[in-house]
């Protein structure tokens, strides 16, 4: 199913949330806004900045409120204080692809059974340059890292689909149990954010752990 059709059908079936964004069909178009601004939106002087260009979604989602670069868009630190009023489902999908890159297509493929999931080892073994060393991380180190980096406790709203390798699932934890829907909404009301491959932030952290493990095993250098 195409990402746009998937979005259209989801909205028709009562879905109104993806990540931290509330999506509303208004009859004449669509509204997107931060879910925490839900109480403000219908007030006449809501004070939210109004945008009509879906490309603005990239600017809104680049930095968090405190100015931190949101290099992983699944982070739960999306800025508040804006509303996008969009004319078409295509524009809405474009904006959502900026907020949550490829998220609609990935979930559509997951539902169709066509999503190819990549294990952590596959991801690490493809790294180049300074990140090549990341592949040396131990299984125990990687399991620990998932619990220290991933999941809503660490500001990531994605549902981890990958395993360490084909035979090794993630240890049970809050991070591995999380199903990609922040805000305690039921699955019937939200599109989950899925993580089909470890992100580059996780790869960078694997490199750090791998180097620390190497140093610990070789104290003389």
């Amino acid at each position: 199913m195409s990402p746009t059709t998937f979005l259209e059908q989801s909205l028709a079936n009562g879905i109104h949330r993806i990540g931290q964004i509330e999506v509303r069909a208004t009859g004449s178009g669509f509204q997107l806004f931060h879910a925490d601004d839900l109480a403000l939106v219908d007030q006449p002087d809501h004070g939210l900045t109004v945008h009509h260009d879906p490309e603005v979604a990239r600017d809104i989602s680049t930095y968090s409120e405190d100015g931190t670069y949101r290099f992983t868009k699944g982070q739960t630190n999306l800025k508040r204080g804006w509303i996008m009023i969009l004319d078409s489902i295509d524009d809405t999908r474009r904006a959502l692809d900026h907020f949550y890159p490829a998220a609609l297509g990935l979930v559509a493929a997951q539902r169709d059974g066509t999503l190819q999931i990549e294990t952590l080892r596959e991801k690490l073994n493809r790294q180049t340059g300074m990140y090549r060393f990341a592949r040396n991380i131990s299984d125990a180190g990687a399991q620990q890292l998932v619990q220290e980096v991933c999941g809503p406790a660490h500001q990531c709203a994605k549902w981890i689909l990958w395993k360490l390798d084909a035979e090794t699932p993630l240890d049970d934890s809050e991070a591995s149990r999380f199903r990609g829907i922040p805000g305690n909404l039921p699955e019937s009301e939200a599109i989950p954010l899925v993580c089909r491959e470890a992100c580059n932030h996780f790869v960078a952290e694997c490199r750090k752990v791998s180097k620390a493990e190497h140093a610990a095993a070789n104290p003389g250098g």
Partner: protein, 273 residues
């Protein structure tokens, strides 16, 4: 070269991206937006090596079954010849991957039309100086690992020397191989020097590292988008007058070069078939 509209195809612009610098991917989105506005493709998307969406996620971005892939890279090398084909599962100029057909074009940086962009950028940054008293330095990363990475720049140097641009001296220079950009004043034979970074974005290398090598910044500063003023040209140092432009890839007309590469691909395809 005009491009035939492709209302049933998608364009996929591939970039490097960064987990550190938010400005790194800005030009790719700008180029995508510019091409999208022209209505030539059904969909226009970007994907990256170091940002989301990843190249491996690109297959899921579109339901178009005909996809043109243009590497928004400045040279042919490790990324365009190894990483991108591997990540997108491409085995040749045209590859069908799980029901979607990908056409793999050459990177923007090797297209001859880049020459015009460099000259335009050099003129913009130093509009009032006489090229006859000016050295034009085109600078890139350079790496001992792949000779192709500097070929695109050396080709541009040759094209500009052969053109009627009139610069007294034109040369290449690199961050990590000779001739080194840090020695720009020794490379220049004239009082005026214009340095154009042959990078796609004003990211870590062109905006933060090279200014330190040139001597116009004492240390690596914040990202371009975090500053109020981009540059204070010209700089009077090392007994010369130096103009440093923004990266060539931030030029709006790079969108045309992307389309040029697609037109060239189609032309080659016709020849092949």
């Amino acid at each position: 070269m005009p491009i035939t509209p492709k209302p049933h195809s998608a364009l996929l612009i591939v970039g490097h991206g960064s987990t550190e610098n938010p400005d790194s991917s800005t030009p790719y989105f700008d180029h995508a937006d510019e091409i999208r506005r022209r209505g030539l493709f059904k969909e226009v998307h970007c994907c990256f090596w170091k940002e989301e969406p990843s190249m491996r996620e690109a297959w899921y971005l579109t339901d178009c079954t005909d996809i043109y892939v243009v590497p928004d890279f400045i040279s042919e090398g490790y990324f365009t010849q190894d990483v991108i084909p591997r990540e997108l599962e491409l085995t040749g100029p045209t590859t069908t991957v799980r029901g979607k057909t990908f056409h793999y074009c050459l990177p923007v940086g090797v297209h001859p039309s880049m020459t015009g962009l460099i000259l335009r950028r050099a003129k913009e940054v130093a509009p009032d100086i006489d090229p006859a008293n000016t050295t034009l330095i085109i600078t890139g990363h350079g790496t001992g690992l792949n000779q192709n990475s500097t070929k695109a720049i050396r080709d541009q140097v040759d094209l500009i020397i052969a053109s009627d641009a009139g610069y007294a001296h034109v040369t290449d220079a690199y961050m990590e191989e000779q001739p080194f950009i840090a020695k720009w004043d020794e490379l220049a034979t004239t009082p005026n020097v214009v340095v154009v970074p042959f990078f796609i974005s004003d990211g870590l290398h062109s905006y933060q590292d090279i200014p330190v090598m040139l001597g116009i910044e004492p240390e690596v500063g914040p990202a371009a988008s975090q500053r109020e003023v981009f540059r204070h040209n010209p700089y009077h140092l090392r007994e010369k007058t130096l103009y440093y432009s923004s990266a060539i890839g931030t030029e709006r007309h790079l969108a045309d070069v992307i389309l040029d590469q697609i037109a060239d691909f189609d032309k080659e395809l016709k020849v092949r078939s």
